[in-house]
């Protein structure tokens, strides 16, 4: 039973890893392009001049290729500079108003990124905890206590899932239906209930909360079962791991942390 759930968990992890990498890329790209567009269309900006972009881009690219130790750094650099200027010229004309919706879209994706990241953090045991218990409880009962802690976490997630579902789908109070985000969007034929300045329904962003809570509850439930049955050891979530720092002191290479 647990191994089947583990396989399901692994499949969800693969999909989530793919999704978060894609979302972070899209978020960064659209916000960066919006800045690039604004700078490229500002009259007083040097970067609004394609000739300047070509020259400056070429210089930076040549230096970059030289640092990299590439062959024909000058030719490649000039190619990149001219290409950049051409791309800028085309971009500004193809998208005359810029990507004004970029930050709203990115914020909507941030909610998804955060909840999927949170569920990935549950998978890799990265959620910070004030783990006093594992040092205080006798070894014989520590796994049971830790399992109970995971159950409590899963129950909390179920609670938030319930509240998030009410917000999304609405709820009844004294026989009357209080509309949720989906009702609001549907009843206005998509005219209301959208993220500011975009046609993206709010519910599409807010759906991330019940999704994330479902997966979190599943993962902490599974962790509880595995801890209770002794399939995983108690503790072992050292600070470096929880902070996402997989550094090797010998090389100095490090991951990241907030």
């Amino acid at each position: 039973m647990i191994s089947a759930l583990d396989r399901l968990d692994a499949a969800i992890v693969r999909a989530e890893r793919f999704a978060v990498a894609g979302m972070l890329t899209v978020m960064g790209l659209v916000v960066f392009l919006d800045v690039f567009h604004r700078v490229s269309t500002r009259n007083e900006s040097l970067l609004a001049n394609p000739a300047f972009v070509a020259v400056a881009g070429s210089v930076v690219a040549v230096l970059g290729f030289r640092t990299r130790g590439a062959d024909n750094a000058a030719a490649k650099g000039v190619g990149v500079g001219v290409g950049l200027a051409a791309a800028q010229f085309a971009f500004v004309r193809l998208v005359p108003n810029g990507l004004v919706w970029s930050q709203t879209l990115a914020l909507g994706l941030t909610l998804w990124l955060g909840t999927m990241g949170a569920s990935l953090a549950a998978h890799s045991r990265r959620h910070l905890a004030l783990d006093i218990g594992s040092k205080l409880w006798p070894p014989s009962i520590a796994p049971k206590v830790a399992a109970l802690g995971h159950v409590l976490t899963a129950l909390f997630c179920v609670g938030i899932l319930f509240l998030a579902s009410r917000s999304l789908f609405g709820y009844s109070i004294d026989g009357s239906h209080v509309p949720g985000h989906i009702d609001e969007w549907r009843s206005s034929d998509g005219a209301a209930g959208t993220l500011s300045g975009t046609g993206i329904p709010k519910w599409a962003a807010f759906l991330s909360i019940p999704y994330g809570m479902t997966v979190l509850a599943f993962r902490f439930g599974l962790e509880a079962a595995k801890t209770w049955t002794g399939l995983v050891a108690v503790g072992g979530d050292d600070t470096l791991h929880q902070l996402g720092i997989e550094g090797d002191p010998a090389t100095g290479a490090a991951g990241s942390a907030q």
Partner: protein, 527 residues
Amino acid sequence: MSGLLLAAVMLALALFGARLFVVVGVATAMCFLLFTGDVDTIIQLDRIVTKMESLTTKNVFLSIPFFIASGSIMTKGGIARRLTDLARASVGWLPGGLAVASVVACIVFAAISGSSPVTLVAVGSVMYPALVASGYPKKFAIGLITSAGSLGCMIPPAIAMLIYAISVQGSAAVDPADLFFAGIVPALFIAGSLAVYSVWVGMGSPGSKQPFDGGAFLGALKEASWALTLPAIVLGGIYGGIFTPTEAGAVAFAASLLVTCGIHGDVPWRKVPAILVESATLIGSLILIVVLAFGLNDFLAEIDAPGVIRAWVENADLNSWQFMLLVNVVLIVLGALMDSISATLVFAPMLAPVAINHYGMDPIHFGIVFVVNMEIGYIAPPVATNLFVAAAIFREPFVNVAKAVVPTLLIICAALVVIMYVPTISKGPLNLREGVAFYEPFPWDGAPAKSVAEDAAPSDAPPADAAAPAGGPMSMEEMMRKAKENAAGGTEGAADTTAPAAPGRPLTMEEMMKKAKENAASEAPAE
């Protein structure tokens, strides 16, 4: 009784090893249930989710994933080695040069990563063995690097400052760009204090000096030049008015990919998705704590926590310097007992309005003082992230690391006192940039210090500073901005949603239903 129950539940959760986001979430839910019991329970709890959803209106938050991702990308490459080489080549000739180089490397690396623990790991893992090999006492080396690593809180783009700006949006708003700018000199002041301490220790270690080598310096500068462009692009872009701090995150993200993968080739492009997944995992563990703490902020605003504190300090008859001293002691204790992000999210919106509206503190200056306190929280035991990290990377018992940081902790505390009572250190450069008097007085009499806006505008003009205190009368500009926000359906901040309506969502039906229910309940006994 309710308070005891809350404390007991928190303790039980900690003993059961519940995750931090659960502790924050349960605390939020219990506060609503125990202390505001006059409204339907479920409707109260709905506000937790409403606050989570409000993340989509907080533009400043967008920069955090970007800075985390760019920090991850840069640190996976060989940036730390390049910067430490440059630091050694530039200041290694001083007495205690290697130790000073460690401090310098921490400053520059923090400007790239924006994170204290990462700075500690990246610089410490390179410099600690070198310091010990050069004959520095082990205890000194651990203490210095662990403390200097905490400068990541202060050097822009500092995630701790972004969290502060988000947490006080509704009560004592500050512009993150101003906070970044104001943090530079205090950070350099703290770093300078640590450098002086290093020189003093280095004087007793004859082997700790190395002669200056111009060739080696130029070589190291050339090697590190691309890495140094990143903070230059980010800060230059923000203060040159090219992009906002939020957009700077995306620019930093793109630039870090270009430098690390495209130019240095330290990280192959095919490994970028894995780094992004790592970043997302970290963002995920952070975001749940943050969004659940928004609910707690909402509760604190509803019970008017700043008002309660204000009443208390009025009763205690504290003047401004006494109040600030008390605030700092409380924050240091909190920082030692809680993780810095949770402490900022919960206590900044409570304390900032009192300090600003009641004692005339400048919002930016108070923000910097708060962040320095949180920096101390990173190294003040028992709950000190950097101490745990240092114990792990230096393979030393936690107690030894905690003892080792005592001298540097005291130096940073002394620096905090100076930064607190000399607001010019933080506000001076900002005043200069705004074209007003450099000197910024401490409001010893509790009256508001002469603000930038007041200096810049005629005395009868309304203050144009976006950081105007929420408690005072609104200027026309603030009213216009508020009206625009309302029209756009966005409500930001902690204290702006004291009514249960969800942001941008017509909940009048819910309110009507709730009212009807309350009316029915109140009429029932009469019948």
